[in-house]
């Protein structure tokens, strides 16, 4: 039973059951600190787990991000690069460490 925000990526990989929550990456199980909503998301997931009749069943949670849908327009734009500054540097460092370990035959 998968709970995810990136519907197209999970559907491409194909899973048995997907509860799709149309929220920004990082908050698939409800908005931060919204305990009631987080409880509701898990409940929907458990119901899908019980009721799905076959594989690749996607159910939409039907929730809306409380601050509006504007976040969808800004992903991967110049204004909001996915990994800005330090985060991008950290990602490149990890990637380089991986390359090096591979070259050294450690992995």
């Amino acid at each position: 039973m998968v709970i995810a925000t990136a519907r197209d990526i999970v559907e491409s990989a194909a899973v048995a059951r997907l509860l799709f929550v149309d929220f920004p990456l990082g908050s698939p199980c409800g908005e931060p600190w919204n305990v009631a909503q987080q409880r509701a998301v898990l409940d929907m997931a458990l119901r899908l787990l019980e009721t799905a009749a076959g594989p690749q069943a996607t159910v939409e949670a039907g929730l809306r991000w409380s601050k509006g849908e504007g976040w969808k327009e800004l992903i991967f734009t110049e204004a909001q690069p996915f990994l800005p500054g330090q985060a991008g540097d950290a990602w490149l460092k990890k990637k380089e460490a991986y390359r090096q370990m591979k070259a050294e035959g450690k992995i």
Binding site: M1, V2, I3, A4, A6, D8, I9, V10, S12, A13, A14, A16, D22, F23, P24, L25, G26, S27, P28, C29, G30, E31, P32, W33, N34, Q38, R39, V41, L42, D43, L46, L49, E50, A52, G54, P55, Q56, V59, E60, G62, R64, W65, K67, W71, K72, L74, I75, F76, Q80, F82, L83, P84, A87, A90, K93, K94, A97, Y98, M101, I107
Partner: protein, 173 residues
């Protein structure tokens, strides 16, 4: 659940298309190839959830504060291995080190938003599910789909079998 209607004015984000366009614009000629399968295996539940053991599996790089296992170690991360986090861990002790989230729209400060440990414990307390597996499983994102398929996924399955799990909740961040 079936009466939830799609939001046609604000369709969901097509990450595959967006990342393809983004990397082309950054000068990468070969687009990233996302995992693709035409079908998925399916197993119906064999017993009621109220009698089932449930495990939480997360790729959020979930970590425990002040636990030396999670000291920054690029080797551990890059190897993409599978690790356990005790199901008794309090949410306030958990945090994520992932960079792969929408930092403009949300925060990772509340672990329950991507690692629903408190709702799961509540579901146990209310009898909705039988019990939680003694540990949750974390899986570091590997750079290689082959490693995910041939090494990490079988290890997750083996661990699930070892701790006699009936159902798994998997949450990519």
């Amino acid at each position: 659940m079936s009466d939830n209607v799609p939001d046609t004015r604000h369709p969901y984000v097509r990450y595959i298309d967006k990342t393809r366009a983004y990397y082309l614009s950054q000068g990468y000629e070969k687009p990233y190839r996302w995992a693709h399968n035409d079908s998925a295996p399916f197993a119906p539940p064999t017993k009621p959830l109220s009698g089932s053991t449930v495990v939480l599996v997360s790729t959020s790089e979930i970590a425990i504060r002040n636990d030396p296992r999670f000291d920054d170690n690029p080797e551990t991360r890059a190897k993409g291995n599978v690790y356990g986090v005790s199901s008794d861990t309090q949410a306030a002790e958990l945090y994520s080190r992932t960079q792969s989230y929408d930092r403009y729209a949300t925060t990772l400060d509340d672990a329950n938003a991507y690692f629903p440990i408190d709702p799961l414990r509540e579901a146990v307390a209310s009898g909705r599910i039988g019990r939680l597996a003694t540990e949750c499983l974390g899986v570091y994102n590997a750079y290689s789909q082959r490693k995910t398929i041939e090494r990490d996924a079988p290890e997750v399955l083996a661990r699930c079998r070892a701790i006699k799990v009936d159902a798994a909740i998997l949450v990519p961040v």
